[in-house]
């Protein structure tokens, strides 16, 4: 079952830790946004393999709800 990881908030992309094909465990940090001087980490909701990474480090003006990473 595919899990879509959405951005919890609008903001900028600070660090992306995964690339397609990576194996991740539930709770692993996938990427960290930088929003209003605060780091906002996003974690893998389940074990799986990263199918898609739709964000890049340095992206600005991202919207909340955008599907950033897909895990299978």
């Amino acid at each position: 079952m595919a899990h879509e990881v959405e951005l919890q908030t609008a903001g900028n992309m600070w660090k992306v830790m995964v690339k397609p094909g990576d194996t991740v465990a539930a709770g692993d940090t996938l990427f960290i946004m930088e929003v209003m001087k605060m780091e906002v980490p996003h974690e893998a909701p389940a074990d799986g393999v990263v199918r898609a990474v739709n964000i890049h480090e340095g992206d600005e003006g991202l919207d909340a709800g955008f599907i950033a990473v897909v895990i299978d």
């Binding site: 919890q8 908030t9 609008a10 903001g11 900028n12 930088e34 929003v35 209003m36 001087k37 605060m38 906002v40 600005e60 003006g61 909340a64």
Partner: protein, 453 residues
């Protein structure tokens, strides 16, 4: 000092503009790409674009700021708080460019800006300090465990260049020490360009009480009483008040005198704040740090003293001796509380919430209510800067009356389009423990079931 450039944005830029205009000065605002239509830009006589949205390329861009001052013929720069306000190199550049720097001397900023050096100065001036370690540079952790044992657990790992709770982590025991220290160092290196840290004893039930001081630059200094800023989330202040509830008068006086002595010993110039950590049980107090700038929560002090701190900053920087302003002249009336309205979702770990202010209704100012803001309905809150939307300040003869006024003010506050902490603030003000004055820095964590449910 006939033309003042405000090297800042948001509510503090608007706040400084207000006092500058009251003194009859011309003003220059600066703005990034994200702030073209911001309130502070519209409020100044002139405005200069200084770069892209990212603060590092605009509000922290020394060359762009100095160029803006030169092109507009500004004669002075007020830095507000945050950004370059406590950057000694910037202050020195401003002065070297022949402009008036509205703030302490670069040497004073340097002496207090580095927390470990500040502790030594405070200690030398007779102030009690929390047990702490020498500094450890990035990846040079030889002797860390022994230093930690000497400080005692639990302890905080603190970035030397940090501030406002940023760059500070708790360690309960030796098992976590090295890992947490390394994580703090890499974060500090990234955020501040300096990975140096030190260790400091952690007081489990602590209050954060600070003394507002004002120095005249010639060894004279006064205090404007204390502020209790114990209600914090993520080590950042949410609610502040003066007087500090339940603090014995003798302790207040000792802290105020100690802070004044420190400012006097430094020949401190301008507005500053001496922060103390106070043991909520024993009322023992320890020097934490000195902030060499106007503070976010300065309005509550203005309410109870009737003084305008920004006006005093500007007049002192403009060359006035302010000889009439003696300690005996500073009188305190009533009690004042400030709530910081943030664009964030308390229920989701205070997750920041940028977006459009579809509705933005604040309480009407007057009759003991003051509102400081830098945004208005229809504005978009961008992800680039601080999440604070407004400060709501209430002043009344007693603490109970000030809290009652705040309850009404928060009821009148309505924001739509983004998440805010307004309901959270209402619950803090109404909480029985807060009403009792049982405040400490762990208040929100301890009462989160009531505050966040």
């Amino acid at each position: 000092m006939n033309k003042i450039l405000i090297a800042n944005r948001g509510e503090i830029a608007c706040r400084v503009l207000r006092s500058a205009h009251a003194l009859g000065a011309r003003t220059v605002a600066v703005y990034s790409d994200a702030d073209r239509d911001a309130l502070h830009v519209a409020s100044a006589h002139e405005a200069v674009h200084i770069g892209p949205a990212k603060a590092a390329e605009s509000y922290l861009n020394v060359e762009a700021l100095l160029a803006a001052a030169a092109s507009t013929g500004a004669t002075a720069i007020h830095p507000g708080y945050g950004f370059l306000a406590e950057n000694a190199a910037f202050a020195a550049r401003v002065i070297a460019a022949g402009l008036v720097w509205v703030g302490p001397t670069p040497e004073q900023i340097d002496a207090m800006g580095d927390k470990e050096r500040a502790r030594r100065s405070a200690s030398a001036a007779g102030l009690p300090v929390v047990p702490g370690s020498p500094r450890f540079a990035l990846d040079e952790l030889e002797g860390l465990e022994a230093a930690a044992a000497a400080v005692g657990y639990p302890l905080l790992v603190k970035a030397s260049a940090g501030g406002g709770g940023i760059g500070m982590r708790l360690v309960e025991g030796e098992a976590q020490l090295r890992k947490t220290t390394q994580a703090t160092q890499s974060m500090a290196a990234r955020s501040f360009g300096d990975g140096t840290i030190f260790l400091e004893r952690y007081i489990p039930r602590a209050r954060h009480v600070e003394i507002q001081v004002f120095g005249f630059g010639d060894g004279r200094a006064i205090h404007l009483f204390e502020r209790d800023c114990s209600i914090q989330r993520r080590y950042q202040k949410v609610v502040e008040e003066t007087r500090a509830p339940g603090l014995p008068d003798a302790v207040r006086a000792q802290m105020a005198n100690a802070a004044t002595a420190l400012a006097a010993s430094q020949h401190y110039r301008g507005a500053g704040t001496v922060e103390f950590i106070v043991d909520a049980e024993t009322f023992e107090f320890f020097f934490l740090e000195m902030n060499t700038r106007i503070q976010v929560e300065h309005p509550i002090t203005e309410c109870v003293t009737g003084l305008d701190l920004v006006e005093l900053q500007l007049r002192l920087a403009g060359g006035e001796a302010l000889a009439g302003l003696t300690q005996a002249q500073v009188k305190l009336t009533g009690h004042a509380v400030e709530c910081r309205l943030y664009a964030e979702n308390p229920a989701k770990m205070f997750l920041p919430s940028p977006g459009k202010l579809v509705k933005f209704q604040l309480p009407s100012p007057g009759d003991g209510v003051r509102v400081d803001t830098g945004v208005r309905e229809g504005d978009t809150i961008t992800p680039y800067y601080d999440p604070m939307l407004a400060k709501i300040i209430c002043h009344a003869p007693t603490r109970a009356a000030a809290l009652a006024k705040m309850t009404l003010a928060l009821a009148a506050t309505q924001v739509e389009g983004i998440w805010t902490n307004v309901e959270f603030l209402r619950r803090v003000i109404a909480h029985p423990a807060f009403e009792r004055g049982a405040v400490f820095t762990g208040f929100i964590e301890a009462h989160k079931a009531d505050l966040l449910a």
